[in-house]
């Protein structure tokens, strides 16, 4: 383009002809090479980072566990405290996850379909577990339900023990895994819309019938994804349960607590074995997450 002194702009065409075309071709190829080089650099850096941070540690657990052969691993699995820890973890999950699921669906319906002020505050309260350290969670539960806590006297009068007992562990676990079902259900609920529910209503369905037969099936994949996330979080909880349970061997020791216990007692095989079990459960979770990703809204599948 050339700009003469007056207010006119002349546009000269780019040089044409065979020479110019091959020059353009060269430039294109050079640009392509540069782009490929950039892509490979990014890939190398990213994969390298991930290998150091993720891959190596995971490989390590398996290596260290089976380092001395299969027999010590069997013994470790069979140890009574290990067994107890495993089943306790499952028990806690079996209680906390359904509670959070029911809560999550109810809350999602309330936030998405209800009309009232303070939705923002409610949302904040529900997301609070993301911002609180597990240790603080444990502390705050002790302050309410512990012997010297707000309900301490009343609870001992009733003969109910929450802290240093399974109910406390359930509370702590439910607290830290609270938000997932709500967060995953709200977008699918939004996408479902109210038309189908209204149609059901005109067809004579009661509130419950509409919920069970139209709403719930419509949001089920969001709920399932949320349940998977909740379960993973619940199984792996350490800090809050550590404080709230008293870590009593064979009684209030969940599997993660057991890992720490074995480690501190220099039973590395015991610790690694329990860690492997948890790692396998984690990987099963990842698999489920990946499979479900394609079914839920707003999630990325490569």
């Amino acid at each position: 383009m050339s700009n003469s002194g007056q207010n006119t702009v002349t546009i000269s065409p780019a040089p044409s002809g065979r020479l110019a075309q091959s020059a353009a071709g060269d430039a294109e190829r050079a640009a392509e090479r540069a782009a490929r080089a950039r892509r490979l650099t990014v890939r190398t850096i990213a994969l390298g980072y991930l290998a150091l941070l993720l891959l190596a540690p995971v490989a390590m657990i398996f290596y260290r566990t089976f380092e001395h052969g299969l027999a010590p691993v069997w013994d470790a699995i069979a140890a009574p405290n290990a067994q107890h820890a495993f089943w306790l973890s499952l028990e806690v999950v079996a209680i906390a996850v359904p509670l959070n699921t029911a809560f999550g669906i109810g809350m999602a319906l309330l936030l998405e379909r209800g009309h009232f002020r303070g939705k923002g505050l409610l949302g904040l309260l529900i997301d609070l577990p993301f911002a609180i350290s597990p240790v603080v969670v444990g502390l705050s539960l002790v302050l309410v339900y512990g012997k010297t806590g707000w309900f301490g006297d009343w609870l001992s009068e009733q003969g109910i023990q929450i802290i240093f007992s399974v109910p406390g562990i359930v509370l702590a676990t439910a607290f830290v895994s609270l938000p997932f079902v709500v967060r995953e259900t709200i977008p699918v609920l939004r996408e479902l819309g109210t038309d189908a529910e209204q149609a059901a209503e005109t067809l004579g369905a009661s509130g419950w019938q509409t919920f069970w037969r139209v709403t719930l099936p419509g949001i089920r994949w969001g709920v399932v994804y949320g349940v998977v996330l909740t379960t993973a979080r619940a199984l792996g909880e350490f800090g809050a349960v550590s404080i709230v349970s008293g870590r009593i061997e064979g009684q209030t020791q969940t599997l993660p607590l057991y890992v720490q216990d074995r480690f501190e007692n220099f039973d590395s095989t015991g610790a690694y074995t329990a860690a492997v079990v948890l790692a396998l459960l984690a990987m099963a979770t990842l698999l489920l997450m990946n499979l479900l990703t394609r079914r839920t809204r707003g999630r990325m599948a490569t």
């Binding site: 911002a131 597990p134 603080v136 502390l139 302050l143 550590s242």
Partner: protein, 262 residues
């Protein structure tokens, strides 16, 4: 008409659950932290060990989130724009720090980068260990935050810029990154909140040495074990406030930025 399985009863149950689980405990926390008045509060959080722990937590977290911002974006870029065999597996692995119990992460990092390290790297009981553990647990946040945005990013914007003569570095700087900024910032906010409270992965590999590698959450744990509950509550409130403030400020920033980008 809002369709809910139960009316007042349902609301009531939800309310009770939320109150018993979250509201009351947090209220108790605030109450305990101020139970001795402001002077006791101040004393608790200004004790040398507490200050050291809080400082370490905040500084380590700050460094870690910056690293995450960079590497997280790179990884998201690779997952969205690059193609190679096994990419699906790599994509799934990103969520590992989320699915893995923190204590297991700790055990494993210790095995890898501790005393008996097969690669000869021993950072156990050092501040570097704090950083490594935090990097592990916060890995997914920026990646997962940026991925969907990058995926949806209109390639025609970049092509338009290129056709106008912009070099790819410029395109990156002036077109792509501004569009990703809100997502990066919100990922950073979540990383911060997560890292500031992290406990399980740090407990083993850092050795919890006061004034050296003791982070805020470990300090609080110690105070609880010593039955100094008001002090524990006070420092807890500081950590919680830090997380909430950062979350609030950054999500505001993220939302404001995305308004322009939309």
């Amino acid at each position: 008409m809002p369709v809910r399985p139960t009316g007042a009863l349902g609301k009531g149950l939800l309310g009770i659950y939320l109150t018993a689980l979250v509201l009351l405990p947090v209220a108790a926390l605030l109450a305990k932290s101020s139970s001795g008045g402001t002077s006791a509060f101040w004393r608790a959080i200004s004790s040398p060990e507490a200050v050291a722990a809080i400082k370490l937590t905040l500084i380590a977290t700050a460094i870690v989130v910056v690293v995450n911002a960079v590497f997280g974006t790179l990884i998201a870029w690779m997952l969205v724009r690059d193609e190679f065999r096994g990419k699906g597996v790599v994509n799934s692995m990103i969520d590992l720090p989320f699915a893995l119990p923190t204590i297991v992460a700790g055990v494993v990092l210790l095995a890898l980068y501790g005393k008996d390290s097969p690669v000869g790297v021993n950072v156990a009981f050092t501040r570097v260990a704090v950083g490594v553990a935090l990097l592990f647990v916060t890995l997914p946040f920026v990646v997962r935050s940026v991925q969907p945005v990058l995926h949806e990013l209109d390639l025609s914007m970049e092509e338009a810029a290129a056709s106008l003569g912009a070099r790819s570095g410029t395109v990156l700087r002036r077109i792509v990154l501004p569009s990703l900024a809100p997502a990066i910032i919100s990922g950073v906010a979540l990383s911060f909140a997560r890292a500031v409270g992290e406990f399980g992965s740090l407990v083993l590999i850092t050795g919890n040495l006061p004034f050296k590698t003791e982070v805020g959450s470990v300090y609080i744990f110690g105070q609880i074990e010593n039955d100094s509950l008001p002090a524990a509550a006070a420092v807890s409130v500081v950590l919680l406030a830090a997380a909430l403030v950062v979350l609030g400020v950054l999500s505001l920033a993220s939302r404001r930025l995305s308004r322009h980008v939309q």
